[in-house]
């Protein structure tokens, strides 16, 4: 359950593809709280069909961001301290050589959640190098469990004109994790991949036109990354945003709100804590 908000709230109830949630509005933050259904809770984002129970005067067209709007919304979002975990630790980066192609980035730690395959715990490949010539040390504690480093990016997808979440994950040796081990880290919520088909290069859902998770080059850095398909998240955010009354907001504020919502939605697939 994700619930954030301060101040007086107006609540409306919605059903969204098997999950019920409440969309409220505080003075300065959208409130999104998921109520768990007794039968289990699996938020997918294939078809978000909101069933309105009352009229709304707010505009409901999908919001397309331009690059400039994306940049402004990102900078506004990270400028102030937020109590939301998803928004912590991000910094704005410019493209190495070209203007207006910037993106958000941060580095977080994750760890293995279930026993992974032997790909990561590789032996020294037949090269027997074990040394036993060193004295025992009674003043050293046990080694901590292996942690993985994830470099995360929020970039602007020119194709879909919405933000996209790109990331890498590597082990302490500096080797990127294979997909099989990637999905077993604390980066992903356990239920996210339940109905997906995996190959070595991506995950797809049977009914979906697009792969959920695939490989691609970072749009600005050119380095190989994983990314979540952007229009899945964007579609959901649009649906959720259409329930909010944004009539009183300036355009820039709408985009900031939209981006906040985007992070929330992202947080239901990906563990977005810093």
């Amino acid at each position: 359950m994700i619930a954030v908000g301060i101040g007086p709230q107006r609540r409306t109830s919605r059903h969204l593809d098997g999950l019920s949630f409440e969309v409220g509005e505080a003075d300065d933050l959208a409130v999104l709280s998921f109520n768990f259904l007794p039968s289990g809770f699996k938020p997918y984002f294939t078809s978000c069909k909101a069933v309105p129970t009352h009229d709304h005067t707010a505009p409901s067209h999908p919001i397309m961001l331009t690059r400039v709007q994306f940049e402004a919304a990102c900078k506004e979002l990270i400028a102030t301290e937020r109590p939301v975990e998803a928004l912590n630790g991000w910094s704005w980066n410019e493209h190495p050589s070209l203007p207006n192609l910037g993106f958000l980035s941060r580095r977080v730690f994750h760890f293995r959640t279930t026993q992974s395959t032997s790909i990561d715990s590789m032996p020294t490949d037949g090269v027997d190098l074990e040394e036993t010539l060193f004295e025992e040390d009674e003043a050293a504690s046990a080694i901590a469990p292996e942690s993985f480093v994830s470099c995360q990016y929020v970039v602007y997808s020119a194709t879909f004109q919405v933000p996209a979440f790109y990331f890498t994950m590597h082990d302490p040796k500096g080797a990127p994790l294979a997909l099989a081990n990637l999905v077993r880290t604390s980066l992903f919520h356990p239920f996210v991949f339940e109905q997906t088909e995996a190959t070595s290069f991506g995950l797809t859902r049977p009914a979906s036109a697009f792969p959920l998770l695939s490989q691609g080059d970072h749009p600005a850095l050119g380095t190989p990354c994983w990314y979540l398909h952007p229009c899945e998240t964007a579609k959901c955010v649009d649906e959720l945003m259409s329930e909010l009354d944004l009539a009183g907001y300036a355009e820039e504020q709408r985009f900031v709100r939209w981006l906040e919502m985007w992070f929330m939605v992202l947080g239901s697939t990906v563990n977005v804590r810093s």
Binding site: P172, P211, D217
Partner: protein, 693 residues
């Protein structure tokens, strides 16, 4: 009392570190295995909450290295502290295994200890050692970190009450003050002292800072990479050793603040505090203690680790995604292919030829006139040298007899009349190596002795212009055609434009490979002008193609000859490009001692730069020939070139149509007359036969 157990450092390597090491090794280090200084960094310990179990999981004491670790002016990010290190990369796995680890480790420990005693400085207390072996072809990196820490005998023990939260020892205001002082300190402060007035100072100021502070109010502190509540981080060990060495009287009991706070908006203080005591009679503080600290591998054993980056690089393990993103993946793989090709070439510079200028060769744009046996082999060999721009021109289509002798063609290329040879060859080059800039042009080269019918004049003019444009765009022209006279036009154009011309021609079991000399007007003073293909001719090139039998028409050669000649041609070019004088390189002096250094005696770093080579396959022998330029040459004399430059296509047309034009222009016709006259003037002594009978 329980012995203090310190949390060891865990190495954390960014992938960029390996990429940087690879470039460094290939371009700078090469075969050197000398120790290099590097830098790493660490920051306060962190823990994460496992969402599912609710448990707090302490992350390891990470000491991190990345590509910036090799930089001289290493700067840490805010909140981190730097650690200096010694780095040694071995050239073979055997050397890595056989390296005397104990000696290396002790060397670092001695370095740290001596530094403490000599400078009283804390700079090396978190110094580390890293040994590596990089298998660049398999993208595997073997490595082992060591974090030398002096062993305290007797061991340190934690007081009865154990470790507690720092907030239980210091007030919140004091902790905030300490945090602010750390943050505003001009340089990162891995170790510091704290007084009862919450002021902090570098450890080096111990005597003055604590002058009027009673021992019960003196606290030593350090940025603690451990997040474990009962285990302080590894850097504390050497800090304690430092204090024991320099201030033994006041440090048998030590108050320790493990600093673990950086963010300002955290709700609670994470730093820890404890009082440590020597667990017995302290040993002689001036004797260097033994040290421990080789990093254990994830299996808990003392041994090196392997980072296998091959799965990231190996295209077959990551199948290409069938989506619009395919081209991006291919671009990435193409970059990898480029690196691999470059690697092979750069290896030559490690030991064999450090002064080889590979860039010079790879950036040379080559035009290959002829995409037959010679053209295919020349193109392949040029690719081996890393040449990035190869253009082929040919007038024919691939025929059924071609593929076995012309290695860029396959059976399917012959079907349906056959693909155009030049374009087909270029496409095949791209399949072999996608990074190549290869193109092919269907082009017929007009020839002297083959008159141009008036209906075809416009087309011929267009062909000449196309050839002129191609030659202008490239640096080197390879003449690889199958007839003598077809080489004339490109010879003239290339000479006029000052391009390098490499000429290769095949007989049945003999070949000629030569370079054309520069044009007369550009020859340097005191330079001898070397000749071209036609310089030794006293007749103009004429029609050698019509009225030939089948075996005279096809260039019948011993199959091995083409590759020998082509390779020789490319290697001649490579040597020429390495020569400081390039196109103007003089011919090698005669009777040269084969063992002399070619660079010193007129050659290049690759060796000789001969003018002409004639190969005799029957004897497996090459003859080196020097052909001087001929001032009445139909191919490269100034008369011809200047007439071409003045009259252009008009002059060309005359040469194609009128067999007497070139001899007249150059004065060769006079030569015949002179020759006849000379013959006439010889006074043949008419002797009567001896009538013996």
């Amino acid at each position: 009392m329980p012995i203090v157990q310190f949390a060891p450092f865990s190495s954390l390597i960014q992938p960029s570190f390996w990429h940087e090491l690879t470039s460094l090794k290939v371009d700078v280090l090469r075969l050197s295995d000398e120790a290099l200084p590097i830098s790493g960094s660490y920051s306060v310990g962190r823990s994460v909450t496992d969402r599912e179990s609710g448990k707090e999981i302490a992350l390891g004491c990470n000491l991190s290295v990345g590509s910036e670790s090799f930089d001289k002016g290493y700067k840490v990010t805010a909140g981190s502290v730097p650690a200096s290190g010694t780095f040694k990369n071995y050239n073979t796995i055997e050397e890595f295994k056989a390296a005397d680890k104990t000696a290396l480790f002790n060397q670092e420990a001695v370095k740290i200890w001596d530094h403490i005693l000599a400078t009283r400085d804390t700079a090396l207390l978190n110094h580390f050692l890293l040994i590596t072996y990089a298998d660049l072809k398999k993208y595997k990196y073997y490595y082992w970190f060591a974090f030398p820490a002096f062993v305290s005998k007797p061991a340190w023990e934690i007081a009865e009450e154990g470790w507690k939260d720092a907030i239980d020892e210091f007030s919140a205001e004091d902790l905030s003050s300490i945090q602010e002082q750390i943050r505003s300190h001009p340089s990162p402060l891995p170790f510091f002292l704290v007084r009862n007035d919450a002021k902090i100072s570098p450890v080096e100021d111990y005597s003055t800072f604590f002058e009027s502070t009673p021992p019960s109010s003196r606290t030593i502190a350090f940025i603690d990479p451990s997040a474990n509540p009962t285990n302080p981080g590894w850097p504390l060990r050497n800090l304690l050793a430092y204090l024991r060495a320099l201030y033994p009287e006041t440090t048998s009991t030590v108050r320790v603040l493990c600093w673990r706070d950086t963010e300002t908006h955290s709700s609670s203080w994470r730093s820890r505090f404890g009082v440590l005591e020597m667990g017995g009679v302290p040993s002689d503080e001036k004797v260097r203690p033994s040290a421990v600290g080789w990093e254990k591998n994830p299996q808990g054993k003392l041994g090196p680790r392997v980072a296998d980056l091959a799965p990231m690089m190996d295209p077959t393990r990551h199948a290409i995604v069938l989506s619009v993103r395919k081209h991006r993946r291919l671009n990435y793989l193409r970059r990898l292919a480029n690196q691999a090709v470059d690697l092979n070439l750069k290896l030559m510079r490690w030991r064999i030829l450090p002064s080889l200028d590979l860039e010079k060769i790879s950036t040379t744009k080559c035009l290959l006139l002829g995409a037959g046996t010679l053209g295919c082999y020349v193109a392949r060999t040029l690719m081996g040298w890393g040449v990035r721009t190869i253009t082929l021109a040919d007038s024919a289509h691939v025929s059924f007899s071609n593929p076995v002798r012309q290695p860029l063609f396959e059976f399917e290329d012959c079907l349906d009349g056959g693909k155009p040879k030049a374009q087909c060859a270029a496409a095949r080059l791209k399949k072999i190596y996608p990074g190549i800039n290869a193109s092919g042009h269907m082009l017929s080269i007009p020839m002297p002795g083959h008159p141009v019918p008036s209906a075809s004049v416009a087309q011929t003019k267009a062909e000449v212009e196309k050839l002129e444009a191609l030659i202008a765009e490239h640096d080197v022209v390879f003449l690889l055609m199958d007839s003598r006279e077809s080489r004339w036009l490109p010879t003239v154009i290339a000479a006029a434009k000052g391009k390098i011309v490499i000429n290769a021609a095949l007989g049945f079991d003999t070949f000629l490979v030569m370079r054309h000399g520069p044009r007369g007007s550009s020859v340097r003073p005191n330079g001898a002008r070397l000749g071209c293909y036609y310089c030794n001719d006293i007749v103009a090139p004429s029609d050698s193609l019509t009225d030939r039998t089948l075996d005279q028409m096809c260039t019948v050669t011993r199959p091995g000859l083409a590759s020998i000649a082509s390779s020789t041609a490319v290697e001649l070019l490579a040597s020429l490009l390495q020569h400081p004088d390039g196109l103007h390189a003089a011919a090698p002096p005669p009777n040269q001692d084969p063992s002399s250094h070619h660079q010193d005696s007129g050659g290049s770093v690759l060796g000789l730069v001969p003018h002409q080579l004639r190969g005799y396959l029957a004897q497996f022998r090459n003859l080196h020939i020097v052909g001087a330029a001929y001032d009445r040459c139909t191919g490269c004399s100034e008369t011809v070139l200047q007439t071409y430059e003045k009259e252009g296509f008009e002059m060309m047309l005359k040469a194609f149509n009128d067999p007497k034009y070139l001899p007249t222009l150059t004065g060769l016709d006079k030569l015949y007359d002179e020759g006849e006259a000379a013959l006439e003037s010889v006074d043949w002594d008419e002797e009567d036969g001896d009538a013996d009978f």
